[in-house]
Symmetry: C2
Subunit: 404 residues, 2 copies
């Protein structure tokens, strides 16, 4: 009899956002008269930018004509998109990468998880605490995380780096050496950014200790502070220790379009093998690339019109986030983030647990947020709200929260 | 120092189609005056059907308006597409599946490989010989295949089921019990179909021996013979032992759009766990679904216009395939397939090896095909040509081959 991957039996329960969705649905079913406002899951609400729509419409029409039809895309992505990425996302920061170092994908989450395919099952991972759940959850599949301790809310083989108010939500260097270090800045869920000098310390540590940094820069488009790096490769030596993961989801409203990319520099080697070559091999056996139409949409993000339109969308979300943060502060809450990020991270009032505050907010304000404890034990007592709602909904949610 | 997944070091060399592409490129560079015709990789050449183009254009416009914009898709796929699939691909054959048993994906290849995530690394796989290379190649990553024996062209832990002229390219039941059995019918590369009675024998064998069948029906749209099943679930008991993988690539020209699906019936259980639940969990931690625009394009394939238009495309490719097969036979070749399939499988003439014939064809006829040995040792002495070219190119390639 065939067997399953027993690591799957170790999962403690539902994925955070599924839990949130279930609670929301149950409440909605019981109270059909209430209008629930979601500032929970980090999904965008503004439509695709006109430049992106035009490019995708044109690409669809091309696919409908024999002379311009395209079959299987190049598995690592079309050169036309890679060129725009190199020129738009790296060159402005003095970073030179080659097209072969870029792998177009269907969004950050898939490859963040699949990256585990090319690494040893014995590698020990370190994550921020709290953190985006997929880093740890995807590694469980490979047996890297050990066993789950429900009491602690932690896995036995994972190194957790607390990110709390006291360290400005930027972790200390690990006390115990990990093999793979996941960093996400600007951070989900805390909304904190990292300075160039702070990130350089992690790069130096990784080089000294033989660690691989997986740098998730999905929120790069929200950066406004001049001392915050736009890519890990602004740090000296980062090409020898860091993979960078990027996404069009939040910077260009592509959550429904599924587009992102990974940078795997040629300098990255382990066991005498280039990670770039390993990933290329994985793609050859497990992927057939990303839709042409979507890649043309991504290309349009880098046109002058596309850039202006998507920047305006980001400004809209940031205005919401700042309003949430400032409104909460005026109402006496401790609130963080919302500057280089769409996320606001607040202390739950009255010593409530994060899920208690979730229930309170849902039941009394009909507002859905995300309990900080869902992102890890150090997120207990915190709560995430996002600027991705509409301005009107955001303002109304704030009013409701303030009148609690 | 972090380590890599050492299974990657076991790969013998380049992926088959990359090898073919390299040889072709080298020849083209050396002979820029020759017009090479490719009947090699199974990519389509006709443009997307008008009904699909219209639906995708409309979906793009929806994404550009605030009222109709859609963010993250449901990870297992949109209900509107699942409903069409159930009504169009299963109900006509008396098969009832629930929407929760269908998982929309970005094409068959990705999920065929990723399926390995939910199975034990100790499971032993069996494949047809010859076979589409990705079944074995993707399992190497998990360590399931053992070691590669370059002399034999086989992996030490993989069970190979010879498909040769003598058995009509439909394998015997395995002599040694596998855990997971990959079957692809209509077959790639041989173009052979399986009858309902033959497939039922495999289903019965799997039920008796506790095997999981992974049934790749990517070429279902090419079936015309009445005794050939359109889905494995036409066989009694198949829901208790089989996952079916389907693709829009060849049936609707979606190679550049990336769309497919997997059926994982609720009856499938191993170690007391439903595979459907395991796969759902994997999706939750490693995927964010498939683009809305592409799913709307897939939906349009099931409209009356979409069905008529895509059936006409398939008829076009089948006319090519039949012409190749019949033309080769007239020229004295032994040729198979091309009835329920876009593939023609021919014996290399004069006792040549498959790669020798590849070189001959490329150099003297400037035609690219695929060496049968690239699909496994039993493919040695065979060669694959496809009906996916244009009618004009197909006719010219045939003329060139006949005048060799």
């Amino acid at each position: 009899m065939y067997r399953i991957n027993a690591n799957f039996l170790k999962y403690p329960g539902a994925y955070l956002f599924l839990q949130v969705a279930k609670k929301r649905e149950a409440f909605a079913a019981a109270h059909p008269d209430r209008r629930i406002i979601s500032l929970g899951v980090g999904d965008v609400t503004l439509p695709l930018a006109p430049a992106v729509v035009s490019a995708m419409e044109a690409a669809v029409r091309e696919m409908g004509r024999r002379e311009t039809f395209r079959g299987y895309p190049p598995t690592p992505g079309y050169p036309f998109l890679k060129e725009k990425i190199l020129a738009g996302d790296f060159a402005p920061y003095g970073v030179h990468l080659e097209p072969e170092e870029i792998f177009i994908n269907d969004g950050a989450k898939g490859d963040l998880g699949n990256l585990g395919d090319i690494l040893s099952g014995d590698d020990v991972i370190a994550v921020c605490n709290p953190t985006y759940p997929a880093y740890v959850d995807s590694n469980v599949v490979y047996g890297r995380c050990g066993e789950y301790d429900a009491g602690k809310g932690q896995w036995s083989r994972v190194i957790y780096l607390p990110c709390v108010k006291e360290n400005g939500f930027v972790p200390e260097l690990p006390a115990e050496r990990p093999d793979v270090l996941y960093l996400c800045f600007p951070n989900n869920p805390t909304g904190a950014a990292i300075t160039r000098a702070q990130l350089q310390r992690f790069v130096d540590y990784a080089l000294e200790n033989g660690c691989l940094i997986v740098y998730d820069a999905a929120y790069e488009g929200f950066i406004e502070s001049p001392d915050v790096p736009h890519t890990v490769y602004e740090c000296a030596g980062a090409k020898r220790c860091a993979i960078e993961v990027r996404s069009f989801s939040k910077t260009a409203g592509f959550t429904g379009c599924r587009l992102g990319y990974m940078a795997i520099p040629m300098e990255l080697e382990a066991d005498g093998v280039k990670l770039n070559a390993l990933w290329r091999q994985r793609l050859a056996v497990k992927s057939n690339g990303v839709p042409y139409v979507i890649q043309r949409g991504g290309e349009a993000v880098y046109s002058p019109e596309g850039r202006a339109q998507t920047r305006a969308q980001i400004a809209y979300y940031k205005k919401n986030a700042a309003a949430i943060r400032d409104g909460l502060r005026q109402a006496g809450y401790e609130a963080f983030g919302g500057t280089d990020s769409p996320y606001v991270w607040l202390r739950t009032p009255g010593g409530r647990s994060a899920w208690e505050f979730f229930d309170l907010l849902l039941e009394r304000a009909n507002v859905v947020g995300t309990p900080g404890s869902g992102f890890g034990p150090s997120g207990e007592g915190y709560f995430r709200l996002t600027g991705f709602g509409t301005w009107e909904d955001t303002a109304e949610a704030l009013d409701r929260i303030r009148s609690l």
